[in-house]
């Protein structure tokens, strides 16, 4: 295609429209087009453009991807791969300097993602210490996060599950770690800002955060500027969230009609399903997946979404496992979920994970990734230019 010089000068597209066009491109193309000119390099590298590009991508369900960490590799699944047929993920080459993902004893890899970035935690179960890294799988850039300077001795405190979220008020991604110091029961939260690249610690209102004493602690969920924890308060399920802009904890009421205590028909005893619920997201809403029912033999999994208030989305059969909702298909008919199966060897339970897709209209379940994996972690992310 050849355009003569005279024509070129006469019909140039104004800058604001060039920006509009560029904001529709995939990250791979944009990284390449940084080489077009200095102006384009500056534009594509700018925070402002990253924000507008992300805003457009987050409205486009096709820009949703899933990153999966198995016991020994990382796989990526694009939107076309999900919600179609059973597929294998694309292997991703990862080489994080000073951050060994596998092979270390007593170290587990945990994920959290939000607004185009993925936060990886290496948690040493023995030392009870954590290290963090923030990664953008689309631009392939990452940053090792420095250790918090004022972390108390890990033996004298208990850290709750970390969260990773986006603060709309400051256009900043943050890592949060609530913790509790024994024996005085003082609750604090460490917050890392990716923008300032520093940690800070603030005190938490004493009544606000509850002890997560579940042995298989569900992950945190990020949704609309807040990070949610599944918790327990006096034996009842409780949802606690931290608003990143206000930096305050709140409690979200449990949907009233959902029974968390199911009577065991024969013995008449209460069978608590407080261990059988998970938080996730459905589109841009918080989604609760809970195992409930009239009796122990009559269980089902209900999906509720938080809009103005809790609204029931669907009921699917309970097949003995706990499901974490991860993302919804374009038409809202299918939900990608992470299934947790617990296998008991004697008294110890081991978790096995599987990625499945539930069709909410015909109640069918399809496996996305092969076999249940004892160490699979998965997170969704939208293509973005944050962190280049």
């Amino acid at each position: 295609m050849r355009i003569c010089k005279a024509q070129r000068r006469r019909s140039m597209i104004p800058n604001d429209l060039v920006e509009d066009i560029l904001s529709r491109l995939l990250v791979k193309s944009l990284m390449r087009f940084k080489c077009v000119s200095k102006a384009w390099h500056t534009l594509i590298s700018s925070r402002r453009f990253a924000k507008s590009h992300f805003q457009r991508a987050s409205q486009n369900p096709s820009c949703m991807n899933v990153i999966v960490f198995t016991g020994n590799c990382v796989l990526s699944l694009g939107y076309e791969a999900l919600f179609q047929t059973c597929v294998h993920g694309q292997p991703v080459d990862v080489d994080f300097q000073g951050f060994p993902l596998w092979g270390e004893e007593y170290v587990e890899t945990n994920l959290a993602s939000c607004n185009g970035l993925v936060c990886i935690e290496l948690y040493n179960r023995r030392k009870r210490t954590s290290e963090y890294l923030v990664w953008n799988p689309s631009t392939k850039s990452y940053k090792n996060i420095p250790r918090p300077t004022s972390t108390p001795d890990s033996m004298s405190c208990w850290f709750y599950r970390f969260g990773f979220g986006y603060d709309y008020s400051t256009d900043d991604h943050k890592i949060v770690r609530p913790y509790q110091i024994f024996p005085f029961d003082i609750k604090r939260i460490e917050i890392f800002s990716l923008k300032t690249f520093t940690w800070k610690t603030i005190l938490v209102d004493v009544d606000n955060i509850y002890n997560c004493s579940l042995p298989l602690i569900p992950k945190t969920t990020y949704c609309n500027g807040a990070i949610y924890w599944s918790a327990r308060k006096y034996g009842k399920p409780s949802i606690v969230y931290f608003d990143l802009a206000e930096e305050i904890f709140h409690e979200l009421p449990w949907p009233e009609s959902v029974l968390y205590c199911v009577r065991d028909g024969s013995s008449g005893k209460c069978f608590y399903t407080t261990g059988l619920w998970e938080l996730g997201t459905f589109g841009e809403h918080l989604c609760l997946s809970v195992c409930t029912g009239e009796s122990r033999k009559n269980l089902c999994v209900q999906l509720w979404v938080m809009k103005e208030s809790w609204t029931r989305l669907a009921t699917i059969p309970y097949l003995g496992t706990c499901l974490r909702p991860m993302c919804a298909s374009k038409n809202g008919e299918k939900v990608l979920m992470r299934e947790t199966q617990v296998k008991y060897v004697g008294r110890t339970g081991e978790c096995y994970y599987k990625l499945v897709e539930w069709n909410l209209t015909d109640h069918t379940c399809t496996s996305i990734l092969c076999d249940p994996n004892p160490r699979m972690e998965a997170a969704t992310y939208v293509e973005s230019l944050y962190l280049q």
């Binding site: 193309s29 990284m31 080489c35 077009v36």
Partner: protein
Amino acid sequence: MKFCTVKQYFDDENNNNVTNGIATTVIPLPNKHLKIKANNKEMEQYEQELLRNVMPQELTKLILAANYLNFKEALDFFCRTVANAIQNKSVDYVRKFFGLESDFEPGEEEKLCKEFAWSFEGVDED
């Protein structure tokens, strides 16, 4: 609002060399939009038909026309089309399309290409 600027557009001397193609492409869009606004798929098909015979460089003219006429739906559609057209193209192709020239220092551009080598994989041949 859309229609009164059309007359202005053609009266404006600088736009005298607008080809008939622009008029036949851009002008009918508002009516068609109103008729089949409810059905996105139909609109998509209509839009694909419309642009099947339009060369990429013509798109620039269409964008400028739609911008002048302040016709948002057409502008959105044309920008989307350009984005799809350049998505998998080389740096040189994109420069020619937008009428740009490289203003990097010698060696700077090679450095960038090396840094983002992975983004050059699978790019269409010029």
